[in-house]
Subunit: 352 residues, 4 copies
Amino acid sequence: MQYKISFKNDYSEGAHPYVLEVLSQTNQQQQAGYGHDQISQHARSLIRSAIQREESSVFFVAGGTQANLLVISHLLRSYQSVIAVDSAHIHVHETGAIESAGHKINLVRHVDGKLNVTAIQELLNSHQDNHMVMPKMVYVSHCTELGTIYRKSELRDISQFCRSNGLLLFLDGARLGCALTADGNDLSLSDIADYCDVFYIGATKNGGLLGEAIVFPDPDLSTGFDFHLKQKGALLAKGRLLGAQFYALLETGLFFDLARHANGMAARLSQAFRDCGYAFAFPPVSNQIFPILPFDLIERLQEKYDFYRWQSVDDNRAVVRLVCSWATTKESVDRFIDDLTHQTPHRNIDSI
Amino acid sequence: MQYKISFKNDYSEGAHPYVLEVLSQTNQQQQAGYGHDQISQHARSLIRSAIQREESSVFFVAGGTQANLLVISHLLRSYQSVIAVDSAHIHVHETGAIESAGHKINLVRHVDGKLNVTAIQELLNSHQDNHMVMPKMVYVSHCTELGTIYRKSELRDISQFCRSNGLLLFLDGARLGCALTADGNDLSLSDIADYCDVFYIGATKNGGLLGEAIVFPDPDLSTGFDFHLKQKGALLAKGRLLGAQFYALLETGLFFDLARHANGMAARLSQAFRDCGYAFAFPPVSNQIFPILPFDLIERLQEKYDFYRWQSVDDNRAVVRLVCSWATTKESVDRFIDDLTHQTPHRNIDSI
Amino acid sequence: MQYKISFKNDYSEGAHPYVLEVLSQTNQQQQAGYGHDQISQHARSLIRSAIQREESSVFFVAGGTQANLLVISHLLRSYQSVIAVDSAHIHVHETGAIESAGHKINLVRHVDGKLNVTAIQELLNSHQDNHMVMPKMVYVSHCTELGTIYRKSELRDISQFCRSNGLLLFLDGARLGCALTADGNDLSLSDIADYCDVFYIGATKNGGLLGEAIVFPDPDLSTGFDFHLKQKGALLAKGRLLGAQFYALLETGLFFDLARHANGMAARLSQAFRDCGYAFAFPPVSNQIFPILPFDLIERLQEKYDFYRWQSVDDNRAVVRLVCSWATTKESVDRFIDDLTHQTPHRNIDSI
Amino acid sequence: MQYKISFKNDYSEGAHPYVLEVLSQTNQQQQAGYGHDQISQHARSLIRSAIQREESSVFFVAGGTQANLLVISHLLRSYQSVIAVDSAHIHVHETGAIESAGHKINLVRHVDGKLNVTAIQELLNSHQDNHMVMPKMVYVSHCTELGTIYRKSELRDISQFCRSNGLLLFLDGARLGCALTADGNDLSLSDIADYCDVFYIGATKNGGLLGEAIVFPDPDLSTGFDFHLKQKGALLAKGRLLGAQFYALLETGLFFDLARHANGMAARLSQAFRDCGYAFAFPPVSNQIFPILPFDLIERLQEKYDFYRWQSVDDNRAVVRLVCSWATTKESVDRFIDDLTHQTPHRNIDSI
């Protein structure tokens, strides 16, 4: 059986080999359990240095949905809600995890996957008494679900608005590596720590086997979070597994190299789509791209490649999603481009 | 700095090398996410064969507390409770995870860490109307928290009582490997599947990096459990990480070999304590043993070895807990025995 | 201080005098607690007879939000959701009660406050895997939040669709009296019981001090609901208080007489608005009406009368909500009409 | 059919007639909903004056279980627990309401139904890391479940211990009226407000139809509680119903008169039991008494009177519970005493 090459997501392979190597090298050491091991302590130090906040709190958990539900339910009282765009992962693809933790998500319409101050202000205006939830947190993703990124000025505006209005700002960084290395990015990890009350750095989709590093720049906000982790089943006995991966990824900058590679592969695909004359549903800047293709082309490409058909735009065309990762090879990308070019009608080729 | 040899727990080291080897070998394969990968499918097949129930449902999760809260909250309605002994892990050491999921634990007194039918019946007798919770599940651990194991006749009696009284039987198998290879064990994995409505097989404490395999012998009881896993943040994007470990452990019987080794090391320690004339708080049969030692001996041993002081028994003596694992070496054990023997007063040595 | 006459809601007064009379008459009787009293049993019998289902289960609770959260959390598993229109009370005005009970509300767009089969089908189409919640219940209100009512054919279609698709149908009847006595209504209480899996009959807004009667036409769906009520703090020690009110309201048809009166008063107001040439945001058929009025008229009327300004429709006009109740007097209505007529510009008066 | 006279509980009758009278007198007034009405404001003022704290926050809810779950879940974070005696209502008779709200109850053994500082200290000692819940609140009842009361010195000691140890003190006052008017009571309402962080004053069991007044002496602790009430279904549309009752009970001291009556009737019964030579399981000081009676006497008395058999003490005798209320008549009590005396064997009578 011949497998298709997959552009479905960024978690189809295991970990970058160096991550496995560090796991092996440290494997036989006797270490304290539950995240008190020395490898995890080293990894936390690397993160604190990177954001230039030695006092910040860092916790490692297994995945993004877990990180989202833990952070949100830790910081909100039962009647407080989180504001997010209608394309947000917490709204669409977490099986009601946030609601299951007791909190309403207040939805506002996304613009290229992003949230803005005007939308937050309108939401606040319509929530004024105790017959409605009390909005208390703003959730953004960087990269967004649609592969776009926030400009520094955009995130700063949201941050300032939140601080003026008593709202907490939470940034979902499941794909933070790709965001911070994307074309046009002007945000640093340290900026993120300045603007947000809590955020996480995702390893699962950027070279790790699993793991998100939740960072509270102000450690006071994390009081009791260790109890919360344990109670919700998120504290691993062998916490070293998470610490060692972040150590491997952050020690030498591998984390950013892998993200840059994923973005580069996606950019190569984007250029090919552009060359063939295809438009995009959202600006292609990171490792997820959303070209608009004719139905028949989609069908032919899906014979050889795995990727998601996102949604139809008219009777002939649909948006598709293609995702590259640290493990995507130039060979796979070039084979795809070759097939794309050959499958594309003559008039498009002419436009090259 | 010189580290002490640790007998504190069975999760101080990483994974058995063969587990890491399988992870490396399968690392570059493109696989489906969220547990739909082929390695996890193979691992599920191995478990289904071992319990001789091809139709059973198997789910892999990261840890024991997570497994406990997921299973209990999946099977109980909000007003239903779970019956457990007062030494149960879900009561003592899970930071209220079960209560946080909404359920009361009805406690009965343990006998050597174990539950029995009489205690369950008494509990039922005292819960008769809607001003009290409705007991609906019985929770047992095998091994128990105190290192003891259930005899086949004991578990069968509990199982029959549960089925006669409309109760579900859930077996926490965080240390199931050690239980099934313990001296005096007469239960098989297949018996467990016959007697229980749901149980899990622990890898975290028996050679894996992390992972518990939750088994519903009757798949009807697992309807919707995949939604529940995702919602509670327990579904790993790279589910292959869990599947590959169970595959490595179960393919050739490594799982049982490692448990046998841990038990053997503990038995060697037990014999030494007996030889020195020390008694045990609970019968030592698996990888956790609870000798009763004089305060001063405990102090001297703790200079070189890490282990927990459990609780005082009188003004001079305390119960301690020593735990061996797949990674405990004969050298470490013999060094401990040597120190123990030399530290023990003459009259005890005479009794050898 | 001169109070304004209030058309703000249907709970500004206490109870209809006959309700208080029954409370007084039965006050000194020694009765069983927690709803086991004889008065509550009589009231349950009256409801069972009215819906011609002697076996149905009936529970009395204090209010609408409480009824909604109890019913929804009783019937849904943690990962299951309820489908509702975006104007639904459970979405807008219950402070996240449903989410606090752990459940996501799947929103679809309302048409005059109502839900339809096409919208439900589309919602189901987009929820197909375990990364999204599992829709399992449909919530409708009758009257809707916008004062409109379902036609028999509409509710039957929704009911049939639900039964074909494994969905439960729940009808919020906080204003059921007004719905069943509204102009154009062709549904009976017995039809409601035929079409719905669970519904409630509201007394709080129709002559009672407090109280909603939750009805499960099929008693099997109510198994354990008495435990659920007690656990959630909804079981009153003196349950007679609820039973006596329903007894008073249902014994002689007072319940429907009061609703008819409220509708009649609202219809009188509606006719006056029409006579003055004003349009309505939603068809005025029950005790809540939503005329569209010029800003300055609203301002002048609000000097003497209390009512809600709903939302602006353009730079000059807004929708307002006026509510009549069992206690609204013809004198109050006529005084309002008098003021309305005098405040209305000449060209509108001409159109009478 | 002849009804038995009931000493089963203190909620067998409706409300004191004056409560109904106030309800009737205020019934037709148009008032704001959801507790913003003027009658509720008056009632709140009466409570604030009684505790001499004009700034305190007062909320009215329907019942005791509701009050308990609302207060506890409002003040605790998810991983925090409440300490209570093993006879506590929240542990035994609320169908797991506290656990359903997510919190573990840490049990300590009661002494005559009461909690003490030594027991709290031991509990704290055994809860030292994040694998166990974090005790954060102490729950006491006054009267206790066993009819006993706290001395001022006892409550002061608990209060001081709580403040020194960062614990919140919550007093369940479902029967506070009877406690404050009991023989030997040296606590005032104002003392309660001094010693506790939150408490409630129960009307359901002392002359009202329903209602508990939750008091936060320090209003800062109640921030957001109004949202919490609404979200949990505890906010009545016609909040006046609760306010009017507390107004009626507190305006002229009726509340304390009724409690004094209930205690007096119980004291009359107690004296009769003593006269007949019977002992008590717990000191009889309030409206609930627990004499120890021979099985055959219990049986004969239960032919004419309703009361609970609490638990057996040996093969011949059991503890029973008799409860008097504001509505218990001297005639009923004397008839009971007459029967008791006649049913009691000669040697007991001699001992008078």
